[in-house]
Amino acid sequence: MHAFQYHRPSSTKDALSLATSKSEGRYLAGGQSLVQAMKLRLSSPSDLIDLGTLKDLSGIKASGSAIEIGAMTRHAEVAHSAEVRKAIPSLAALAAMIGDRQVRHMGTIGGSLANSDPAADYPAAVLALNATLTTHKRKIPGDQFFKGLYETALEPGELITSVSFQAPKRGAYMKFRNPASRFAMVGVYVADFGSGNVRVGVTGAGPSAFRQTEMEKALSSRFAPESVASIKVKPDGLNNDLHASPEYRAHLITVMAKRAVEAALK
């Protein structure tokens, strides 16, 4: 790890002004991705602005048909939250599948989304649950957030403060893990909001998470596994690595989507 200056702002306002003055700095949320990258010297920020003590960035609120989760809320808190389990059980289940127990105790939803790892789990939920990301200065619709490999709509220094998810009538997330890293090789989140409104978020398969519109259309007319089982996803543009070719990933999208629908119907 290269040297950096560490800052522990006492308020969100301080954090923002630090970010403005330290252009090569990075926010430190849970650190479960950033610290790893720094250890391998793949990332070398000049400054780390630790958000760990900012209480106002953490917490879970249920309001009407939505669940709002503070950016610094740990994955384990989402997984165990009574509110989340009641309103969007599939989201709690997704949070319980991220990384491992230890990672879930530190990792945060805001950190995960800001990092936008192509194989992270939450991005599938953001798309499928029609989430809205609130930053210190604006609201960003989930559909407009992911821009490419590790790229998001966030501007330099812009800080996610919370994420609001719409509760579907039913939904499920199915993850096919990379056997070594345990990240999603393909993860598919299917959410049925009723009245023919179905959203399908896919992670792990492309440079960043995306919606599978063909499946959404098919499921909107009939929310059943058979509606997606025969959809052949095109492998063009999908990720290629040791563990999965684009063709295999394309195939897995269909399989995971079908299983997610099955699970949602249970």
Binding site: K39, A76, Q102
Partner: protein
């Protein structure tokens, strides 16, 4: 540049002057000379560095020490009773031959302690899932799984 960090480790207040980039595990091993917490990888897979921070199992290789400022840290050295008697979870590992070379063992125990508090009578499958973040190369996990199941029950019984 060095900075001061303070926390509680195994019930005792500690502090140190460290480089800001010092990982929590390095602070524990090198500054405090508590070498029971191990480093087995550099990508957060192996879990040999697992400690508890404020009662929750975390990987001490995946945070900088400054993130633990003011926290309550428990390492493997703080688990046994003051008279040296093994904690029921440690005893279960011994009884069930849940360790061989011993290198992954502290991380296994620290994770298992936290897990068992919330799962007093876990199933085999629950235990296997709880070990997602801990690698062992010696035991094939067979006896670790048995140890944690037995340890969890022993912990529940001793409450």
């Amino acid at each position: 540049m060095t900075v001061k960090v303070s926390m509680k480790v195994n019930g005792k207040p500690v502090s140190g002057e460290i480089e800001e980039r010092t990982l929590l595990v390095a602070f524990i091993r090198e500054n405090l000379r508590l070498t029971g917490t191990h480093v087995g990888c550099d990508t957060a897979q192996c879990g040999a560095c697992t400690v508890q921070m404020n009662g929750k199992a975390i990987k001490s290789c995946s945070i900088v020490a400054m993130q633990a400022e003011g926290a309550d840290i428990l390492t493997i050295e703080g688990v046994a009773h003051a008279d040296g008697t093994l904690h029921p979870m440690q005893a279960a590992f011994k009884e069930n031959h849940g360790l061989q070379c011993g290198f992954c063992t502290p991380g296994m125990v620290m994770n298992a302690l936290d897990f068992a508090r919330n799962h007093p009578s876990p199933t085999e499958q629950e235990v296997r899932e709880s070990l997602e973040g801990n690698l062992c190369r010696c035991t094939g996990y067979h006896n670790i799984v048995k140890s944690i199941m037995a340890g969890a029950r022993a912990m529940a019984a001793s409450k």
